[in-house]
């Protein structure tokens, strides 16, 4: 995860099975240089298709959608990086978080309080899930997948029983309704707010990861669990903490996203799919990868819909498949 730790192994034709990715300086320059040129060409082509204002609006649309996914993907990737758990219940956490948010907003009228209550409730749900359900099967990949899917079914169906199945958006606070007019450029306040939230949360996450004792423990845990345990750090507590934190972010995402994407039974799988695409494209287990992934997925989603509407089903999954074929560990993934 730290860039300094990369060994200089010559490039091979099968990056899938290499202990570390090829990061010799030349190939790295080629990689970045090529990407930048390709990106520039793409932007130039897009700008021939639409006006500058439309381009900006679409870019912000993509980024704001990506921002919602960031809260989900960062937690998902943290849990995976540390514990190797593919937590498919993350979408269920999002949905229940959103529904709790609706109840709290309806009762108190306070959007931000709802955010807090949801995030904390889902954090507690995460605690129970990790301690009671996942701990007995630590390290067993397939049972974990089955269990988390099972949990998603239960959470989704119980939400349907409790909150009903009508599509429901979470009411936003008044000052986030409507559009902002910045020198003639009109753009929704709430989307800008979501982007800002993601930037702030992302910055905090990076800071915590790099600069704090907690971050050091998590980084060490991602790299080498056994050694961390041997050093006397309670790795189980770190795991529980990370899982709870991931759940906390999912609950938070439920409220932020619920005010934006509407809550509905089935939304749990929908957002999970997008979050998966994000972490897979970015590289599982990497916070930087998640950040890069949300930008890519958000922009692909938004420009894909606008420019090639006929293929909008593929604009997400075709790039995902291609990236995985070319770089089986994702763009910033490590073995």
């Amino acid at each position: 995860m730290t860039d300094g730790l990369k060994s200089a192994v010559p490039p091979t034709s099968e990056p899938a099975f290499d202990a570390s990715r090829s990061d010799a300086p030349t190939s790295r320059w080629l990689w970045w240089g090529g990407s930048i040129v390709a990106l520039a060409l793409l932007v130039w082509w897009i700008l021939t298709q639409m006006t500058g204002t439309a381009f900006l609006a679409q870019a912000l649309n993509g980024l704001s959608f990506g921002a919602v996914l960031f809260f989900l993907a960062s937690g998902f990737t943290l849990i995976f990086g540390l514990m190797r758990i593919t937590n498919l219940a993350h979408g269920g956490f999002y949905l229940v978080g959103g529904y709790i948010g609706i109840s709290v907003v309806r009762a108190t009228g306070n959007f931000f309080f709802a955010m807090l209550v949801s995030a904390v409730s889902i954090m507690l749900l995460g605690l129970v899930t990790e301690r009671v359900l996942l701990r007995p099967i630590r390290g067993l990949e397939k049972p974990e997948v089955l269990l988390t899917i099972g949990l998603t079914f239960v959470l989704g169906d119980l939400s349907l029983a409790i909150w009903g199945g009508d599509p429901t958006p979470i009411p936003k606070p008044d000052f986030l309704n409507g559009a902002l007019n910045i020198g003639g450029f009109i753009y929704p306040r709430y989307r800008l707010f979501v982007i800002a939230c993601a930037v702030v949360v992302g910055a905090i996450l990076f800071w915590v990861e790099k600069k704090t004792r907690w971050g050091a423990m998590v980084r060490a845990g991602v790299d080498d669990r056994e050694t961390v345990a041997a050093l006397g750090i309670n790795i189980k507590a770190v795991f529980t903490g990370a899982f709870m934190f991931g759940a906390f972010l999912a609950g938070f995402a439920g409220v932020i996203g619920g005010a934006f994407l509407t809550l509905l039974p089935g939304q749990d799988f929908e957002v999970l799919l997008f979050a998966l695409a994000v972490v897979i494209i970015g590289g599982l287990g990497s916070l930087k990868g998640a950040a890069l992934g949300v930008v890519i997925v958000g922009l692909i989603d938004s420009f894909g819909k606008a420019l090639i509407p006929e293929l909008s089903f593929f604009t997400l999954f075709a790039p995902m498949a291609i990236i995985l074929v070319l770089r089986p560990r994702g763009l910033l993934g490590r073995k």
Partner: protein, 335 residues
Amino acid sequence: MLRSLSLTARVKLGLAAAGIGLGVAAPYIFDRFVIGLISLALIAGLFAQSIDLLGGYAGLITLGHAGVSGTAAYGVGYMASKAGAGFTAQIAVGFLAGMTAALIFGVMAMRSDGVYFIMVTLAQGMIVWGLSIRLFRITGAENGLTGIPRPPAVELYWQYYYLTLVVVVLCWALLGIVVNSPFGTSLKGLRESETRMRMLGYNTTGQKLYVFLIAGFFATVSGILLVYLNGFISPSTVILAASAIGVLEAILGGIGTLVGPMIGAFIIVFVQNVVSIYVSRWPTLMGTLFIVVVLFARRGLVGAISDGWNKWLHRNDAPVSQEPVLTSSNRTAGP
């Protein structure tokens, strides 16, 4: 000859014979609804077995398998409903479509493993789903294709049931041969450690492609059986949930066995179609079932039964160590 077999083997043979006997007698005992359900469960079981060949034996969990079986089903559906071709052409095109999909998917996925394999296949499944909605002239989009009659010889529901039974049992036997062949043994090596297999000189990439093609063949058969059973195909047959349910059936029954996926399929088909008549919150029930199985019968129902049987068999012995997961004795090749 029978006397030379262990008690366990004799019990298994007895159960297999009873199963086949019941299968043959079923149309004389049950009504049309139950026979339809059994046909559906047999087809779902074959589909889950083909997933299990990848997931349980080779350690490659796929979430896009319905893309393969669905492509085959669409091949048949298109030839029957839009092209008005004869049955031979329908089935030939179905096979061709399914195997082409399996080949393309296999080539794309063969360099991945673990979670990344899951994600590549998921993306592939989503692409097929996207195509099924987009290619209106071929697939009928959301409305699907209707008017796919069965061949006259198996037109009646019980005739079709017998055909399904024979084909599924035949495929089961073929799968038994595959997993017990040297190739099947090498798959287990792939599951345990791909690196070791490559060091031993195996071409693991090629191995993955072969197993994908073999699994694709059985998925294709199940897809063709399904489209004639329903006389109808629509995108719901290729959605992610269809692939996921197949994986769940395999894990629920007991992954790494051939009888497990079949049992899992019977249970899930039963819950979806019969229990749902009486229990309105059946998804909760199903999710709880997954969780309970994972927590209390980690190796699926077949594993639990086999453990219980061994315990009973050795009830008077001194305590023996549990047999390791997935040894040959709990992997039944026969029905």
